[in-house]
């Protein structure tokens, strides 16, 4: 079991609670019903946000502007409607109805084994209205975790989690099996404030990531250079992107390492491309 080791690190825990916190639990019986629906009803999972991911992250909408579950590119939406998928998931629908939140968009998100959402910020393309993201893990495993503020947070199944995705963060499922979360983007209102009032860090499941020594970073950079020299350029890039899930690194550092990898190979265009990608992933601004 991963344990919380934040007792002696007030700065990290303060930063972390702004970014992620656990909320109320649902009952085991209800979780089993939701899990059954999530594993048996959805089909035709949609791959989207491809720039943000390694492959292996797919979603379907439950509440959105069109009612089409395949419409998964989120936008501001003040009056979302139930999709055809949600209509076939009565236990999930009842849960969402009971909460009575001001939903913007609600999705199911599946993350396969060895799949990653790379370090990024969300909501950069949306209005500046106050909004939060809630996660309800339905199916997960110990190697699936969120990284933010230099900590790895394994979101346990069966309880709500509040995430502030305007902070840089990334998600991984290192070893599988698949992870399925219900993700609700909600506008700020009284019901949301009530639900999130007691947001706190959990007793278990949070781990401060180690700081990489210069020698360790050099070793990883060398391995990536060796991979690229043998023709595995994408594997080299992915090996560096994955460092975000193993070390507490400064913001955007893995993108800088990839830029430097390509500069070292004499590929100025690729180096510039990764510099631009860093800006896009962390600010939403395209160069």
């Amino acid at each position: 079991m991963i344990t919380t080791d934040l007792h002696d690190d007030t700065a990290t825990s303060t930063a972390l609670i702004d970014q992620v916190g656990c909320l109320a639990s649902i009952t085991d019986t209800r979780l089993e019903r939701l899990r059954h629906e999530a594993l048996t009803v959805p089909t035709d999972w949609q791959i989207s946000y491809e720039e943000y991911q390694s492959g292996g992250w797919a979603t379907l909408s439950l509440l959105n502007g069109s009612g089409d579950p395949a419409d998964v590119t989120i936008t501001d939406c003040e009056r979302p409607v139930a999709t055809l998928l949600l209509e076939r998931m009565p236990a999930t629908r009842a849960l969402l109805d009971e909460l009575g939140l001001s939903y913007m968009w609600v999705r199911l998100a599946r993350l396969d084994s060895n799949a990653f959402l790379w370090e990024h910020r969300d909501y950069t393309e949306l209005n500046t209205i106050e909004r939060y993201r809630l996660h309800l893990p339905i199916l997960t495993n110990s190697s699936a975790y969120l990284v933010t503020a230099g900590a790895a947070v394994h979101m346990t199944a069966g309880r709500w989690w509040r995430l502030t995705p305007t902070y840089a963060h990334g998600v991984c499922n290192l070893r599988g099996p698949q992870r399925i979360h219900l993700i609700a983007d909600c506008y700020d209102d009284e019901a949301l404030r009530h639900l999130t009032a007691d947001a706190h860090l959990p007793e278990t499941g949070v781990r401060i990531l180690p700081t990489a020594t210069p020698d360790e970073l050099l070793q990883h950079a060398q391995t990536a250079a060796d991979l690229a020299a043998l023709g595995w350029v994408e594997a080299a890039e992915r090996s560096l992107l994955q460092l975000f899930y193993h070390y507490a690194l400064s913001e955007g550092h893995t993108y800088d390492m990839i830029r430097d990898l390509h500069a070292g190979r004499g590929d100025a265009a690729a180096a510039a491309g990764w510099q631009a990608k860093k800006a896009f992933m962390l600010t939403g601004v395209r160069a």
Binding site: S113, N114, N141, S142, S143, L174, R175, G176, P177, Q178, T223, D226, L227, A229, L230, G231, W232, E234, A235, R238, S239, Q242
Partner: protein, 290 residues
């Protein structure tokens, strides 16, 4: 047979295509990206047409001799990053010596544990290996310039094989063997199950000796009881080892599950740092094994 019937049968055949072939396609595409790769040769049941849904993917990777050591150094990283191996690769000490280096990897594929056997060989050895292993060539790099055998490869392979396994490798060996055994039991392959169970017990013995008495790790069973049994920790490990030795020499599913518990208990006792390093890997492994 009418045309529609023929088409339906073709569709059924496609629908029932072993999942390993999709994985094999993916792996061939991945390895062929590297210009250092000269040949890819499928071995085993997928090559012979005798595969089933439990079959390994068994591949010989021919590499330019001048780049052999560089390739060997990053192979595990490629398999981990690109194929999502759930454990580090196990340096295969069962595979016959064919001038290269073998490794066994466990991947999650389509929700199941899938074994991938790789044999990395210098390109000049490929014709002999193809004959010996009755392999099927699935890729050859026509752009690769022919290279002469490189004596440095032989020395590199010899040195690699001479290195005593670490606790990390021995634990992975035991876990891989347990996975192989599960497959043997499902297929009722008693002879192979017997052989692999003996190897598993030996791997656990080596793990204990390597962790507690590294200077005499190569002494095998010799004076094991007196030398390891000198401390309470050692005696607890010997008790665990005796549990494995006293179990049926051809395991059942139940005794294999018990053996796996003993492996993990021993590893916690003698190699806690290794267990900590492999914690997430082990969780994923046990998900598939239990």
């Amino acid at each position: 047979m009418t045309l529609p019937q023929s088409r339906m049968l073709a569709e059924l055949t496609t629908a029932n295509r072993p999942g390993q072939l999709d994985l094999l396609d993916h792996i061939v595409g991945l390895f062929a990206v590297s210009p250092a790769v000269t040949h890819l040769l499928v071995r085993g049941s997928l090559a012979y047409g005798t595969s089933d849904r439990l079959s390994d993917v068994d591949l010989v990777v021919g590499v330019q001799p001048s780049r052999f050591s560089a390739y060997a150094a990053v192979l595990d990283a490629v398999v981990r990053v690109e194929l999502g191996a759930i454990l580090p690769g196990w340096p295969d000490r069962i595979v016959p010596a064919m001038g290269g280096l073998g490794s066994v990897h466990l991947l999650e594929h389509q929700g199941h544990l899938q074994q991938l056997d790789l044999y990395l060989a210098p390109a000049d050895r490929i014709p002999a290996i193809a004959g010996l292993a009755r392999g099927v060539l699935v890729y050859s790099n026509s752009d690769a310039a022919p290279e002469q055998p490189n004596p440095a490869v032989e020395a590199f392979v010899r040195d690699r094989l001479a290195v005593a396994p670490s606790c990390h490798e021995l634990l992975v060996e035991a876990l891989v063997l347990a996975s192989m055994l599960r497959k043997r039991l499902a297929r009722r392959q008693r002879m192979m199950a017997y052989a692999e169970y003996h190897m598993l017990v030996t791997a656990v013995r080596s793990l204990i000796r390597t962790a507690l008495q590294p200077s005499r790790a190569a002494y095998g069973w010799y004076h094991l009881d007196t030398e390891i049994g000198a401390s309470s920790l050692g005696r607890a490990c010997l008790d665990d080892l005796a549990t494995l030795m006293d179990a049926p020499s051809v395991p059942t599913r139940e005794t294999l599950a018990r053996a796996l518990e003993v492996v993990i208990t021993v590893a916690h006792r003698v190699a806690p740092d290794t267990m900590d390093d492999l914690r997430l890997d082990l969780d994923a492994y046990l998900h598939h094994m239990t």
